[in-house]
């Protein structure tokens, strides 16, 4: 046996020399080139009309899209404040929605018909009616219930709350968005919980864990992997749904943009301003989602794939030594 091929258990059965590496003529893809060329022309046309074409309004100068106006308003204090309120609406409604969703999902899975029935009814109502209607509803509910009284049912009361003063537009919108989100989240969480293998609960129970603890420590962490991607989806969706709050005059991004354009008639420009903010916020959220999902993937994949940052660093490391070698042949 030759000494050149001692690696590998089957080396005896193979011939001593490795055949030469295959160098074949690759398949040509003319269709791809044609499609690429067509797309390139379309992109060029889009860039041209967006950036370089001039306004058609008589007596005015500047680009057709009025980018100077966009630039002027993008970081104006009103718009920034509007973006802030949009973010607040989203974060508060999402947090409340997730908590509510977990609660309702657990109720749905309860053995008590009464409890699971109530949970089903809640999801039925709030998924079955438009969010816009719900926002109006909670905004005008104070007309039906000007005062809310806390106390013993049908008995004495302790505190009376003036709903008109408490439930302003912002909180009415938050309440509507939270309750609506809770209904959707409950289905997402429920799907996650029932996806966890029954053996996990049995193993937890045989350690003496109670149902609540098994749910918290064993089932939910594993359900998270399934719950998170749609929850990220919901958050991004919520960011945009929150614009519906403009109908009850919550000063969020869309409402602010509408207000400004009602005064200066730069409707498209302010819609672009609002869109840039929405896009920026959804981008940040998507990045956050990526890292949260990675965190909960522990144990589910043998080795976590590197993050884009880690990949970049590694690629840089590859580049450097090659350059080094090239410099000293």
């Amino acid at each position: 046996m030759s000494t050149s091929s001692e690696s590998g258990p089957n080396s005896e059965t193979h011939s001593a020399t490795k055949p030469e590496i295959i160098k074949a003529v690759p398949v040509r893809h003319p269709g791809r080139w044609v499609a690429g060329a067509v797309l390139l022309v379309l992109v060029a046309m889009a860039v041209h009309t967006l950036v370089f074409s001039q306004t058609q309004i008589p007596g005015q100068r500047g680009s057709r899209f009025g980018w100077s106006v966009v630039r002027e308003y993008l970081f104006s204090s009103l718009v920034v404040k509007g973006a802030e309120i949009t973010l607040e609406l989203t974060v508060v409604s999402m947090l409340a929605g997730v908590l509510l969703g977990v609660l309702v999902a657990v109720m749905r899975l309860s053995k008590s018909r009464m409890i699971s029935g109530v949970a089903w009814f809640y999801a039925w109502i709030f998924r079955g009616t438009p969010v816009l209607v719900q926002i109006y509803f909670w905004f005008f509910i104070a007309a039906l219930y000007p005062h809310i009284t806390l106390g013993i049912p049908f008995g004495p009361s302790f505190v009376t709350i003036n709903l008109n003063s408490v439930l302003g537009a912002f909180w009415a919108a938050t309440l509507a968005l939270s309750l609506n989100e809770g209904a959707y989240m409950s289905e997402i969480v429920r799907a996650g919980i029932i996806s966890v293998d029954e053996g996990q609960v049995e193993a937890a129970q045989s350690l003496g864990m109670r149902r609540g603890m098994a749910l918290r420590r064993i089932v939910l962490p594993q359900a998270m992997r399934l719950i998170l991607p749609p929850t990220g989806n919901e958050t991004i969706s919520m960011l945009k749904t929150s614009s519906l709050a403009s109908v009850i005059a919550v000063n969020e991004l869309t409402h602010v943009a509408n207000n400004i354009s009602a005064q200066n008639y730069k409707t498209i420009q302010l819609l672009i301003v609002a869109s840039i903010w929405y896009l920026a916020m959804t981008t940040v959220l998507s990045i956050g989602q990526y890292y949260v999902e990675r965190h909960f993937a522990r144990g589910a994949t043998r080795a976590l794939p590197p993050t884009p940052l880690q990949r970049l660093k590694r690629n840089l490391r590859y580049v450097r030594p090659q350059n080094h070698q090239a410099a000293h042949p």
Binding site: D197, G199, Q200, E202, A203, A204, Q205, S206, L207, G208, M209, R210, R211, M213, R217, I218, P221, Q222, F296, R298, G299, A300, R302
Partner: protein, 254 residues
């Protein structure tokens, strides 16, 4: 006479119209290893699950360490146990599953310590030391930081045994612990169980490993059709079977 660790008297259990157990009578003495063999569907696993309160029995009486399983008897009436009481009893009985059921989101160490810390309220350090000791005992000291799916089936099952032992149980139940393993991995799990039996642990083992039953079992129980057909010393049951069904069964598995 000492209290038997497990005592079953005319235990019945059915799922819908399917009668899985039809009058089981059995006693397991403390420190004894009882191996339950029999064709699948004969009710072996269901019996184990009854002992651990994972199912409720329909008729008869079942005791673990002298205490009634699932109920409290007062003035000739049975009262169902509360969830809290059942959990307390379960924490004294350990169970090893056919499909391991390790917690995939927790490291090996956390799998072993979560019971002692969360259920028995041990301090984290104490639980960690004990876990390290148990993992060494099953030969997995080097896997302490790994996650379950980075381990082979045999290693996972040994972690499951360590997890069960960490609760310091008075009784251990094994539900076909080697049935989901590749043949070459069966040995390492049986070795760990053998060592456990030698240390005096009371064990009820549902198994298809006749070699293990013969060597380690103090009693071998053959079940078929929801009944115990034959029970006794391993060499009597496995070497000189009396019953035709047992003879038939053994001729197929040996």
């Amino acid at each position: 006479m000492t209290t038997p660790m497990v005592k079953a008297e005319e235990v019945y259990k059915s799922f819908g119209s399917l009668e899985v157990l039809q009058g089981i009578n059995l006693e397991v003495a403390p420190g004894e290893v009882t191996c339950m063999i029999g064709p699948s569907g004969s009710g072996k696993s269901t019996f184990l699950r009854l002992i651990n309160h994972l199912e409720k029995l329909d008729a008869g009486r079942l005791w673990v360490d002298g205490e009634l399983v699932g109920y409290r008897e007062k003035n000739h009436r049975l009262y169902e146990l509360k969830d809290r009481e059942i959990c307390a009893k379960r924490s004294e009985i350990a169970m090893v599953f056919q499909r391991f059921n390790l917690f995939p989101h927790l490291s090996v160490l956390d799998n072993v310590t979560i019971g002692p810390i969360k259920v028995k309220r041990q301090s984290a350090n104490e639980a960690k030391d004990r876990a390290a000791e148990l993992l060494q005992r099953v030969g997995l000291s080097d896997k302490i930081g790994a996650y379950p799916n980075q381990l082979s089936g045999g290693q996972q099952q040994r972690v499951a045994i360590a997890r069960a032992l960490a609760m310091e149980p008075k009784l251990m139940l094994f539900d076909e612990p080697t049935s989901a393993l590749d043949p070459e991995l069966v040995g390492e799990v049986l070795d760990a169980m053998h060592a456990l039996a030698d240390s005096g642990m009371t064990m009820v083992v549902v198994t298809h490993e006749m070699g293990f039953a013969r060597e380690v079992g103090d009693t071998v129980v053959f079940m078929d059709g929801g009944r115990i057909v034959e029970a006794g010393k391993p060499r009597d049951v496995l070497v000189h079977p009396q019953n035709e069904r047992l003879k038939n069964f053994l001729s197929k598995v040996l």
